[in-house]
Amino acid sequence: MKQEHTQHRSKRYGMVIDLDKCTGCGACMVACFSENNVPFKKDETDKRLSITWMKVYRIDNGRDFPNNQVCYIPRPCQHCAGQHEGHSPCVSVCPATATDYSRETGIVSQIYTRCFGCRYCMGACPYHARYFNWWDPVWPEGMEKYLSPNVSPRMRGVVEKCSFCFHRYQLARDKAYANRRKDVKEADYQTACTQACPAGAITFGDLNNPGHAVHQIVKPNDHVVKNKAGISIIGKSQNPNVFRMLERLGTNTKVYYLSSREWVRKAGDNYIADEKPEDMFAEQKKH
């Protein structure tokens, strides 16, 4: 019976990014471009027209030298669960069900051939993790041969975004099946950005699996808790150094950030006046 329980337990893939380790080198962005056939243009000066599934933001603590500190925040799609599993900001608004939430993996997918380019999902995403193909992709001569055969390139007029390298999950599942295993091994399914990070800042895995490193770092709460505004928070980290971006909005992302610096943790959300992050859950209730 115990075995059956683990077999049926759904996965919740997510990552934790150690911001104290991230150097802002951009290797994750390059790996993501290459792995997922992300199109680029000759002129990428207007960053609001650039497609960067993984984008690295640079922030500082606003203080003068020598007290100035810098932090780089890599931002893939946050794969939000929303107020209840599957009610992601983007998934809930897509009129044509062109973006979907997998209850099996917790991954928010994008169905390029179904998307008709209304861009409502982009308006709904507070992380700007969704990108519209304003142009058809044009690859430099000969580069078509280097495109990944596992990921379909996107055409003009549709939205795309980070998929947590879902094709790698499919390959890992195939491998597990071939080896007569039912579960995908942690090492068999890792995203391109995770593997490319030279500092080892990104840890990826199943947040529901206590054996996975990501679970051990994040220590997600099994219970749904409500913050002071009454918003349900799923998978709240019990590690005091771990936070999520815009957690108080109730997007319930599966990308966590780790930092020992308080100002970095505070930059993850918005606070009025003298509010503090810990105040948000002063009256936590089990749900």
């Binding site: 207007d46 027209l49 809930s92 209304c118 918005n270």
Partner: protein, 438 residues
């Protein structure tokens, strides 16, 4: 040359003058069509939209014309369901304006999507949780209703009405129009509301997000209410403009004052609710999400508190009050000013709910995003205006839009020139069929 097509007993400008005006407007239309084709052929890279501004000028235009076109459903509701019979003298024009607004909205949407050929996916793969799905269904259905409401008007053209089948069809359609008016009001409640819901459900966007009643955010109800309140302002303003352009009194004061009064009370009640909503959002919703309401109105070049003042006071309370007090309502200048302010107010509301929502940074380290539309976006937004003007010109010239026009503008010596031909009304009445006569 085209006098046989012009309704009897009314005077129209010469055909050449009409064609000249038509060709000038068609020039503007052509400009818009070129921009539209560029967007369809070359793609949305022709616009100045970007990944921060997925929704921009077009979505605002959509929301604005649908709000302004709300005069059609609300006038229909008042006339056919509530029984304000006096509005029979305005209902034709309200329907025409509504038809123009809604067809324009559908056209703009067809340009706005990245893959227009897949637009039908919204029906085929419908996500029932999406407000946009509700918009698409109700908008399409209500456009069909408006078409049904507009058809009898076309059939009343002097020549078409001579054909017995069309004459009786128009007669019978008028007879069942109350059913369509009720259907239209029902559908409008939902699509106006769901357009409000489009912004209100965005829980990742604290500027737009509102608390809910059942499954609907407050903006759902506010949008419906505001469309019913300000839509008639647009109908009456266009009527006033038509009177100025044609230099004729087309509608008596009584129906105009009646609709203006109803609109005034709708605006005032809407403003009470809207003010409460704004207060609640500023003091509860936004702070609970980590934002001081003032944050949304500073550190950017466009969206200051003036915008909020313009929407709530200048474009809301003032036109409402001008229309509920008899002296200012009966004064043509203050009344028309109220119509204009009201239209501006609802357009500002739709603007901030779309564009300011996109402009506001949500992540603490992000910055305000500003946007200036490209000429292609401007041209395609003006395109429906030119199309609307053309449709109004043609309809006014050839269809009996204003039932009181003949009475208000009698033509000397025309009393004996009535044709008694096959296809005239069975009772021998030579005037075109009007809703009131059915």
């Amino acid at each position: 040359m085209d006098s046989a097509l012009i309704p009897e007993g009314v005077k129209r400008c010469s055909l050449w003058k009409f064609l000249l005006a038509l060709s000038i407007t068609s020039g503007v239309l052509l400009w818009g069509v070129i921009a539209m084709l560029l967007c369809w052929i070359k793609g949305l890279n022709q616009t100045n939209m970007n990944d921060y501004y997925g929704f921009a000028l077009w979505i605002w235009a959509d929301l604005a014309v649908i709000a302004l076109g709300g005069g059609a459903f609300f006038s229909g509701l008042l006339k056919y369901i509530i029984g304000k019979d006096e509005l029979k003298n305005l209902i034709n024009y309200a329907v025409l304006i509504g038809f123009i607004c809604y067809s324009s909205a559908l056209l703009i949407l067809a340009i706005d999507v990245g893959q227009p050929m897949r637009s039908w996916f919204i029906f085929w793969h419908a996500n029932i949780h999406s407000m946009l799905t509700e918009v698409a269904f109700c908008l399409s259905c209500y456009f069909a209703v408006l078409t049904i409401e507009y058809i009898p008007l076309i059939l009343e053209n002097r020549q078409i009405n001579k054909v017995p089948f069309f004459h009786h069809l128009a007669h019978n359609m008028h007879g069942v129009m109350a059913i369509f008016a009720a259907t239209g009001a029902f559908l409008s409640f939902f699509h106006q509301g769901s357009l409000g819901g489009v912004a209100g459900v965005l829980f990742g966007r604290p500027f737009a997000f509102r608390d809910h009643i059942l499954i609907w955010p407050y903006t759902f109800f506010l949008f419906t209410w505001s469309a019913a309140a300000f839509g008639p302002c647009f109908t009456l303003f266009i009527t006033w403009m038509t009177e100025k352009i044609t230099r004729k009194k087309l509608v008596k004061d009584k129906p105009i004052l009646l609709l203006a009064k109803i609109s005034g009370w709708m605006i005032v009640t809407y403003m009470v609710v809207k003010s409460i909503d704004t207060w609640y959002w500023a003091t509860h919703t936004a702070p609970s999400l980590g934002f001081n309401w003032e944050f949304f109105f500073k550190n950017n070049p466009l969206y200051g508190k003036t915008m909020l003042f313009s929407e709530i006071i200048l474009g809301g309370w003032i036109p409402g009050l001008l229309l509920i007090f008899r002296p200012t309502r009966e004064n043509s200048v203050t009344r028309t000013t109220a119509f204009f302010l009201g239209m501006a107010g609802v357009c500002i509301n739709r603007w901030v709910m779309v564009l300011q929502t996109m402009a506001v940074p949500v992540m603490s380290f992000d910055s305000w995003a500003m946007y200036i539309p490209s000429w292609q976006e401007v041209a395609t937004t003006i395109l429906p205006v030119a199309y609307g003007v053309i449709l109004v010109m043609i309809s006014y010239r050839y269809l009996p839009i204003f039932p009181q026009e003949k009475e208000l503008n009698p033509i000397e010596g025309s009393a004996g020139s009535v044709d008694k031909q096959v296809g005239q009304t069975p009772a021998g009445d030579d005037s075109p069929l009007q809703p009131a006569q059915i």
